[in-house]
């Protein structure tokens, strides 16, 4: 159960943290249609995060940060708002600061391709709750990937400027892909081994890149610290800043009702 909880935390944190980055786009997108679509994707991911964090808390209550006696803050929010950066288990690609719209499209393409492949395999997971979360998520992720894929092709074949920006975005996103594929003992034990989905991700990305006429960047992996990366709680400098913002109101009111 402790491992299942850890695994749900990983998937939940990916969703929560990337939803935060997506939500920063609200009222800043290139046009209304994209503003709505991005908010929608963020909303799906917040929904997934809630279910996954709740599942993690149920599977291993010892994970849940304790608050003063009588606090009405529910478990999902204790996990979201009362953990520090080193306790988050998301991959770093979910947390790095936003760039331009090309960066959004590229990152979303990679993350949604990866997450879709993962959730598809979790649909039959022995844990019925996780399986149900995955089944719901698969439909959502298919839309996310489709949105990203269409824009990826559009930007690739749009103007010189959009092509240039997409190339730059790929250079920043690609070094974070190996981290997605490495995986941890927990993932291998109770979830989907990322190494086993890596070939599928490669096929999908190759296909999109081929359609778009973009070359795969030849970028080495972004190193961790002593081999440890996001899944191990070793993050980039960006995460603590993100959390300072995300958690500020909740932490000011540990006894608050919302």
């Amino acid at each position: 159960a402790a491992e299942l909880a850890q695994y749900c935390l990983m998937l939940g944190d990916d969703a929560l943290i990337y939803a935060h980055r997506l939500s920063e786009w609200t009222s800043n997108a290139p046009d209304l249609e994209e503003d709505i679509a991005i908010a929608n994707i963020a909303l799906d991911l917040v929904g997934q995060a809630r279910l996954l964090l709740a599942r993690a808390a149920a599977a291993d209550p010892s994970l849940v940060p304790s608050l003063p006696e009588g606090s009405p803050v529910p478990d999902e929010d204790r996990l979201a708002y009362f953990r520090d950066a080193g306790e988050f288990r998301n991959v770093r690609l979910a947390e790095v600061p936003n760039g331009d719209f090309a960066e959004l499209v590229t990152r979303l393409l990679v993350l949604s391709t990866w997450r879709l492949a993962t959730l598809q395999r979790l649909v039959d997971h022995p844990d019925a709750v996780l399986a149900a979360i995955a089944a719901k998520g698969v439909k959502e992720l298919a839309y996310h990937r489709d949105f990203a894929g269409r824009w990826f092709v559009t930007l690739a074949g749009g103007t010189e400027e959009s092509h240039r920006r997409l190339t730059a975005a790929m250079a920043t996103v690609w070094p974070l892909i190996p981290e997605l594929e490495t995986g941890t003992a927990v993932e291998r034990a109770v979830g989907v081994d990322p190494a086993s989905v890596a070939p599928e991700i490669a096929v999908v990305l190759d296909q999109v890149l081929a359609t778009a006429g973009m070359a795969t960047p030849d970028a080495p992996a972004l190193a961790g610290v002593q081999g440890r990366t996001g899944r191990d709680g070793m993050h980039s400098e960006a995460l603590s800043r993100l959390l300072a913002e995300m958690q500020v109101v909740a932490r000011a009111h540990p006894m608050g009702r919302w």
Partner: protein, 314 residues
């Protein structure tokens, strides 16, 4: 060559008189069209600018449930903006041109969004008071004489009243929380009460366009009528919530069967309308930055579509 407009005008007047809808293909007086463009565009701009004050708290929402609710609400506002721009486009003007008019300050948006959101509580207060006032203004517009506008309003009003209930529910929940939370609710209501009353526009005596708009069936009630309706609706809600409305003159008038209430600060109102509110410059700069930053994306999409199109025609 001058076409004889008399029969067209007669048909238009008959439609208005019969409380029927004018549709995009129908003839309409140029002033009616311009008045509608101004009003519907202003309404659309208000939805879009209105995303900012609440959007300010999405990343800081204090629970995941509230984060989802707020994200969905701000997304709805973008959706409302979209319908309303579409309705305006049926009057023969493009969304891009409307956005440019907004950014250049040639068209306005609701002044309420020129006030800052200073705590998460403001999300609830905006839902309760600002959406509440908007609904009072907008419900009659569901019967407005221009078809596309009226139909957009029906959908929008349904969602707005959902937002209003969500806002009220947030405040109600906070009032059941800590003393600090209750104080936050009161402080927020104190700040938004008067600006909410101003949302109905200046007193009828200072509202020169009202008469024509009512004659055309674009508007259905005067500013003061709507303001009174809002106050009467809100006072019992405030009581149920347990907050005080910051108006010492507010009291029930048995004779009128309505509440008496104080006069908003109309100097403040006009200052904000003229662009000198606390956030006018900030809201416009934000909108302009998003529009400018997105230009290359819109251009790329057009170039891509044009290429796909020309390939399709080959």
């Amino acid at each position: 060559m001058q076409v004889d407009q008399a029969p067209l005008e007669e048909a238009f007047e008959a439609t208005i008189a019969g409380n029927d809808r004018i549709e995009p293909r129908d003839w309409m007086p140029e002033k009616y069209r311009q008045t509608l463009i101004r009003q519907v565009a202003q309404h659309a701009h208000s939805e879009i600018i209105g995303m900012q004050p609440e959007g300010n708290w999405i990343t800081r929402a204090p629970s995941l449930r509230r984060k989802a609710v707020l994200l969905a609400k701000v997304q709805d506002e973008a959706g409302h903006g979209l319908y309303l721009y579409s309705a305006t486009e049926t009057l023969g003007i493009s969304r891009d041109e409307l956005t440019r008019r907004l950014i250049e300050g040639k068209q306005k948006y609701s002044s309420i969004f020129n006030y800052p959101t200073l705590s998460y509580t403001d999300v609830g207060t905006i839902g309760w008071l600002v959406d509440g006032a908007a609904i009072c203004n907008q419900v009659p517009l569901c019967r407005t004489s221009y078809g596309p506008y009226g139909r957009a309003m029906i959908r929008i009003c349904k969602e707005e009243s959902f937002h209003q209930r969500q806002g009220y529910e947030l405040l109600m929940t906070m009032m059941r929380g800590t003393d600090e939370q209750r104080a936050m609710v009161q402080e927020s209501v104190d700040r938004f009460w008067w600006p909410a009353l101003m949302m109905f526009g200046p007193p009828d005596g200072d509202s020169p366009n009202t008469a024509q708009s009512m004659a055309w069936g674009i508007k259905r009630h005067t500013n003061d009528e709507l303001r009174q309706r809002f106050v009467d609706m809100t006072v019992p809600q405030a009581k149920a919530l347990g907050v005080t409305l910051p108006d010492p003159e507010l009291q029930w008038n048995e004779e009128r069967g309505a509440h008496d209430f104080g006069e908003p600060d109309w100097d403040e109102f006009w200052a904000v309308v003229k662009g000198n509110g606390p956030c006018n410059a900030q809201r416009m700069a934000h909108r302009k930055a998003a529009y400018d930053d997105g230009a290359w994306v819109r251009e790329a999409a057009m170039a891509f579509a044009a290429r796909a199109d020309s390939v399709g025609r080959d």
